[in-house]
């Protein structure tokens, strides 16, 4: 029973990865690619870890440690990359706020 629930969680997490990869292909500039590439992979990894905890409960300490590590470091690295990209001078592909002025 719990094994099938775990496989269901892992399946949803893996589908989040596929959506993230397709968005990485289709989005027009760096900032939108960063939006797709960091948010949905975070939720995908957390779902995969929850599913693995359901399937093998004896590994759950290491898996939850990994989940806490990812929740701490993933927004930090994306923030560093966004700041560096902005200081490099790259702009949005289509800036609607500038077009309205």
């Amino acid at each position: 029973m719990f094994e099938y629930l775990g496989f269901l969680f892992i399946f949803f997490g893996v589908m989040a990865f596929v959506v993230s990869a397709i968005g990485l292909i289709r989005m027009p500039d760096v900032y939108t690619r960063m939006h797709v590439g960091t948010k949905s992979t975070t939720i995908g990894t957390i779902l995969v870890i929850i599913g693995a905890c359901f399937i093998e409960p004896s590994w759950s300490f290491k898996l939850l440690l990994l989940a806490a590590f990812i929740l701490l470091t993933n927004p930090l690295s994306s923030s560093v990359i966004a700041r560096a990209t902005h200081s490099d001078g790259l702009t949005l592909d289509r800036d609607e706020l500038k077009e309205q002025k």
């Binding site: 596929v18 399937i55 990994l66 993933n74 560093v80 990359i81 560096a84 200081s87």
Partner: protein, 82 residues
Amino acid sequence: MINLLIIITLLALFITLYRFLKGPTLSDRIVSFDVLSIISISLFIILALYFQRAIYIDIALVIGLIGFIGSTIFGRYIEKGI
């Protein structure tokens, strides 16, 4: 059932690898590298369930550490130079 999950994860990995090889700017490649490291963490968790060996979770922890340090250092390299 778990074979199908490994195949879908590899599909996502190869689609991301296309952006990593093609990406027009350096920032695109760094974002793709971040996504690649996180997808490989999950791939190693699924492989640990496939082979029933808990040692693969340690490999996933080390990949997470090195991926985070790598993307942070490349971000600093774009911003100021080394």
